[in-house]
């Protein structure tokens, strides 16, 4: 399958601390790639390198290259704003803006210049449908997004990310703050969305990775220890450290 993202020798430093060590890997198009590993192993740093959200942290240094469709996102001419539009992100805790449901989804299209109300309504409806939330909120689009349940908020945030028509979706432990039923709905949604998007998901939950991911990478101490098709990684890990983690001897 075609690779959407290629990462070559990626190292990230927070001041003196090295958070990622020469990571090299590829992210397949229209597939779910899960990143697992103990806390502080660098998986979130890896994710935030992909959309350069890491630029917001002071004293950060990045070495190596990340190619999105053959363009290095860290090369000087890259428009970070456009990169972030193309690489959507969903965070650990649902973080809708304190605005109406409609305005949350319309936020991205509006800042990117869409002002026609009819078009906005179409985009909002389409995005909410794709995030499997439309039927629950179609009669209360003007209500505050903060009145929704945690699971609904997380699907709203996914709809908000989809509304700017990204090329890639990143998810940073998107179900860790949710109850099991809401988490299950998000997992179903991810499985549906992978028909259209490459999805990279960081998760603490190995069962979740096994259920939804096509590819899985195991991070430890800033190193990508092993990266393989999910089934192969879980059933026949090649690295002793991967096996040790999977059997519960780390983190």
């Amino acid at each position: 399958m075609a690779d959407k993202i290629r990462v070559r020798g990626l190292s990230v430093y927070y001041g003196e601390l090295q958070a990622l060590r020469r990571v090299t890997t590829s992210i397949a198009d229209r597939a779910v790639t899960a990143l697992i590993g103990p806390s502080g192993c660098g998986k979130t740093t890896f994710l935030r390198s992909l959309n350069r959200l890491i630029d917001l942290i002071p004293n950060t240094r990045v070495e190596g290259q990340i190619f999105l469709d053959d363009v290095d996102v860290y090369s000087p001419g890259v428009d970070v704003v456009d990169l972030r539009r193309r690489v959507g992100m969903v965070f650990q805790t649902p973080n809708p803006f304190p605005k109406s449901i409609f305005d949350n989804v319309a936020y991205g299209p509006r800042i990117h210049g869409l002002s026609n109300q009819r078009r906005l309504e179409e985009v909002v409806e389409q995005s909410l449908r794709r995030a499997a939330l439309w039927d629950e909120v179609k009669d209360k689009l003007r209500h505050s997004a903060l009145d929704l349940s945690g699971g609904q908020q997380q699907r709203l945030v996914i709809a908000r990310a989809l509304a700017v028509e990204p090329d890639v979706l990143l998810m940073d432990e998107p179900t860790s703050a949710l109850d099991p039923i809401s988490a299950g709905r998000i997992e179903e949604l991810i499985t549906e969305l992978k028909a259209e998007y490459p999805i990279v998901i960081v998760t603490h939950n190995m069962q979740q990775a096994a259920r939804i991911a096509d590819w899985t990478g195991f991070f430890l101490h800033g190193e990508l220890v092993e990266f393989a098709e999910t089934e192969r990684l879980f059933t026949a890990p090649k690295e002793p450290r991967t096996e040790a983690y999977l059997t519960g001897r780390y983190g």
């Binding site: 959309n51 959200l53 917001l56 704003v81 456009d82 990169l83 972030r84 539009r85 193309r86 959507g88 992100m89 965070f91 805790t93 973080n95 809708p96 803006f97 304190p98 605005k99 936020y107 991205g108 800042i111 990117h112 505050s144 945030v157 908000r160 990310a161 700017v164």
Partner: protein, 292 residues
């Protein structure tokens, strides 16, 4: 032992409740006192004359106690001060909270706090010495003791309050909102204007109102630089007399009890009513916005 702990809890709960209602009790007592000392005025002067009379001549014969010039002076000076201070204060807070590099931010915050620490009489003194001659020369006026001079100094005094409260409000906006906005491809400016400021709006409103409260109650500076002529100012370049300055200037020279003495209390009651209504309205607006 168990009873003793229950008793202890009971006592402390009552003490806390007492502190809670103490401020309300004090406020009610102040209001009653103002009311009681104001009422005797209206045995001799009609309420209509007091509220709508255009002459404040307390020691003429016969005296006249019309507060229109004082209300007009207060209105002109405080509203102008707020109009100047709000955009500058909120702008400074946005710069401090969202844009300034950390080192510069610490230095600027220190400067703002020092500004707040200046006693108002010192600001008034600087006003007389520097701003009054400047206003006179630049605008070609017969005197530099004008409503404008007072408004400018009051705006300066309101700034630290507005800046620090507004900066706190902006700082309290969760970082996750900013991250979500950046992750959608927003620029810093779009993030500030479309996410951070709307999310902080009730706190920003509180900042504006606290600044306004600081201005409307301020006495010393306006007493020193506004000229204190009890006339209705036709423009900001005229002298003005404010309610606060009137009370401060005249209270020491009244006989107690006298019409004049009671009239000053009535002015105080009007001032109190105005600030009370402003706060009440602000509270309503803040709540109304939160509910949405």
């Amino acid at each position: 032992m168990r009873n003793l702990r229950a008793l202890e809890g009971w006592i402390y709960e009552r003490l806390v409740a007492l502190s809670g209602i103490a401020s309300v009790v004090v406020m009610v007592l102040i209001f009653l006192f103002l009311f009681r000392e104001s009422v005797p005025l209206f045995r001799d002067v009609s309420l209509r004359h007091f509220l709508f009379g255009r002459d404040w001549l307390p020691i003429s014969e016969p005296p006249s106690f019309g507060i229109v010039p004082l209300v007009a002076g207060t209105f002109a000076v405080t509203v102008s001060a707020a109009v100047a201070a709000v955009p500058i204060g909120v702008g400074a807070a946005v710069y401090l909270a969202e844009i300034a590099p950390r080192r510069l931010r610490e230095g600027l915050k220190l400067a703002v706090e020092l500004l707040a620490a200046l006693p108002s009489v010192v600001i008034g003194f600087l006003g007389i010495r520097l701003l009054v001659p400047w206003v006179k020369a630049v605008f070609g006026l017969p005197t530099g003791f004008t409503a404008l001079t007072g408004a400018a100094l009051l705006a300066l005094m309101a700034l630290p309050t507005i800046i620090s409260v507004a900066e706190d409000a902006l700082g309290a906006v969760p970082g996750t909102y900013r991250q979500a906005s950046y992750a959608l491809g927003a620029t810093r400016w779009e993030t500030i204007t479309r996410v951070v400021i709307p999310a902080a709006r009730s706190g920003l409103l509180a900042a504006v109102l606290l600044g306004f409260g600081r201005v409307i109650g301020e006495t010393m500076v306006v007493l020193m630089v506004t000229g204190n002529a009890p006339i209705v100012p036709r423009s900001l370049f005229d002298p003005a007399r404010l309610m606060t300055a009137t009370i401060a200037a005249e209270m020491g020279e009244t006989v107690r009890p006298s019409e004049h003495y009671h009239a000053l209390f009535a002015v105080g009651a009007v001032l109190f009513a105005v600030t009370f209504l402003v706060n009440l309205a602000a509270d309503r607006v803040a709540r109304g916005r939160e509910a949405r």
